[in-house]
Amino acid sequence: MASLFSAWTKSSMDFWGNIAKMQPDTSGTSEKARKNPAYKAQKTWESGNKILMSLLSTLSEPKNMNTVLKGMDSLPEFMMQMAQQSWDGYLEMQKRWADQATKMGRHTEAYNFEGIDQNVFKTWNEIYEKEFQKFLNVPQLGLNRFHQERITQFTDKFNLFQAALSEFLYMFYIPVEKSSAVMQEKVEELIEKGDIHDNFKDYYNMWIKILEGHYMTLLKSPEYTQVMNKTVEALVQYRKAKDEVMYDVLEKLPIPTNKDMDELYKDFYLLKKKVRELSKKLEERI
């Protein structure tokens, strides 16, 4: 690597040195010619070339070359480390998901929502927070840091909302699954007794009643309230982050944003309230 870099600096120096030699000699040029723009351009080029040559000769010194090469080595190392961490997170996620997927629904009982296996969602949240979220929280730098930060926040909140919504929808689906299982048992019992209904509406009524019972049990459970609240909170956070990005975009356009209008509405509301209050006082005096 060092010899390659050394060869490259040497060939660069030779190339630009030869180019410089090809330029016309300007040491004895008259005063008139010196005022010519072409002369000025040549001088600027010569000065730039000298700076480059001195930089290349400094770089070609063995001590400096090592430092440069170390810095260059650390970049792919940094990239590799980042990629490695993402990959590890992904593998971990896949492994834990596979474990949880086999457990899903294994321990749930009819009309009982205390033992719902929510670990798959817990696992996802843990992995997301531990392995992925940190990348979105890497501090942003430079002129665009605030804009970039808003976009990463939006991405983060969107992911969290999707996770919360999935958990909510999963929970909401459980009564359907449980009702089907209970219904199957009931039908088997009826078959055992030889008590077969020939009207399909009877089966539907039976099923909807079971489903309603399951939903009533679910909806009253603290687990459901907790998941619903989590979804509401995630939705609010996501909308807030989305609005921030939208304001950033719309700010550049000649149209008022909700933020602008909300401020105006507030002023308007307070003014109106004041006017109403003063009008009432005035009416009372009259």
Binding site: F200, E212, L219, T225, M228
Partner: protein, 427 residues
């Protein structure tokens, strides 16, 4: 082990019959759905007599005025007041008019983002107070009758406590005042979640979001079974008309101003301040002991949104000695729309108000049907400009709907308590 016998031939025969029926029903249903349907709501004629911001006041004029004191009806901010005038033959408003009561009804309109800062105080001490003053001026009366529905009832309770000198009689219907109960999922959810945050997030609390919440109270029935019922009856024109009418009403949900929503959830559902006389509006305490006028309190035994436990404490906490609780065997909506309640609910209010008219009858006989008295009223609120006056369409004949709204159950006066006696289901 003996194998149970399954009458496969019978099942197949029934299946064939069902298929045939479904086919015939689908044919008739397409005829019904493609024919003109009578699904208009709120067809009783009215006039807009007041407008301020999004709020309007409807005035319904009876053919003959028989009661001296007009009745102001305040609906909730959730859904629309059209429920009280659902259709001819099923209209609380029409019953009042038939009995000679002049009816004023608040139309809260559709809040926009502009209204997000409007608080309960603005509704009660702002819009409602201006409206009450307007009606008092129009009729040259010191007091008027007030009736509230659900959240609107809570507003009426607050108003009557803060302006008791302006209210002659108070009628509350399915009005939540005690929020310290775990009967009803709505109470549980509102207390244990931060749903009020959504109001700020969306500008106002979206009506569609609230409707979704109401559907989730009983998903099996409200999202699934209800529509199965519709498909089974869609060859019945009267059923379809009633169903569509209710659908139109249910999903006509204005947003609720964020500040009002937040205050209602935190002060009422979470802190239960109203029934304890600890609630404050713009620094003024809402003391229920100031409610000294007669109070009639209706609620539904099967109400899953505002259960009896949320309503029945009110009569015991107010300062009035003339109170009555009536628990009807119906749900939250059935009280207004079920056929049986039509015969009991509104007529009871008419009679109750009549008994508390005082010298009203002779005065009413001399009064013109439409109050022409020029008034300060016009100054209190914006006068209705000619172009804003809305004469509703001519009443249409009642459709011969047999079917009650899904929520409604047969109504009957289940419980009638005067202040001294405790309601049967009280704690």
């Amino acid at each position: 082990m003996s194998q149970p016998k399954i009458a496969v031939d019978l099942i197949l025969q029934k299946l064939a019959e069902s298929t045939e029926k479904a086919k015939s029903r689908a044919q008739k249903a397409s005829e019904v759905l493609l024919s003109p349907l009578e699904t208009d709501m709120a067809t009783t004629p009215y006039e807009i007599v007041y407008e301020e911001d999004r709020v309007k006041l409807k005035y319904y004029k009876p053919a003959e005025v028989k009661q001296k004191y007009p009745l102001l009806v305040v609906y909730a901010l959730i859904n629309r007041e059209t429920m009280l005038d659902l259709q001819p033959g099923r209209s609380v408003v029409q019953t009042f008019l038939d009995n000679g009561i002049e009816v004023y009804m608040v139309d809260w309109g559709y809040p926009t983002r502009k209204d997000q800062y409007v608080t309960i105080d603005d509704h009660v001490n702002g819009y409602m107070d201006s409206i009450v003053d307007l009606i008092r001026n129009r009729h040259d009366l010191p007091k008027i009758n007030l009736m509230g529905i659900c959240m609107g009832g809570a507003f009426c309770v607050m108003y009557s406590a803060l302006h008791s000198e302006k209210i002659k009689n108070l009628v509350t219907t399915v009005t939540p005042t005690n929020f310290d109960t775990d009967k009803g999922l709505l109470h549980i959810w509102m207390k244990q979640t931060d749903a009020y945050l959504m109001g700020k997030s969306y500008g106002n609390m979206p009506g569609d979001m609230m409707n979704l919440g109401f559907l989730l109270l009983n998903p099996a029935r409200l999202i699934l079974d209800k529509y199965v019922g519709f498909f089974e009856n869609m060859d019945n024109k009267a059923f379809v008309e009633n169903f569509i009418r209710m659908e139109k009403w249910i999903f006509d949900s204005p947003d609720v101003p964020a500040a009002t929503f937040r205050q209602f959830i935190t002060d009422c559902y979470k802190k239960n301040l109203l029934i304890q006389s600890k609630m404050e509006l713009d620094g003024k305490r809402v003391d229920l002991k100031n409610i000294t006028m007669p109070l009639l309190n209706f609620y539904g035994l099967y109400d899953h949104l505002v259960p009896p436990e949320a309503c029945e404490l009110l009569t015991r906490e107010v300062g009035s000695t003339d109170t009555e609780d009536i628990c009807m065997k119906t749900g939250h909506i059935g009280i207004y729309v079920s056929s049986k309640c039509q015969k009991e609910f509104a007529p009871k209010i008419v009679q109750w108000l009549k008994e508390r008219e005082g010298d009203g009858e002779s005065a009413a006989a001399e009064k013109p049907a439409s109050p022409e008295s020029a008034s300060k009223s016009r100054e209190a609120g914006k006068p209705a400009s000619d172009e804003n006056k809305k004469d509703a369409k001519e009443s249409k004949p009642a459709s011969s709907g047999k079917q009650d709204a899904k929520e409604s159950k047969p109504a009957s006066v289940g419980k009638k308590d005067v202040k001294e006696s405790k309601p049967a289901s009280s704690k």
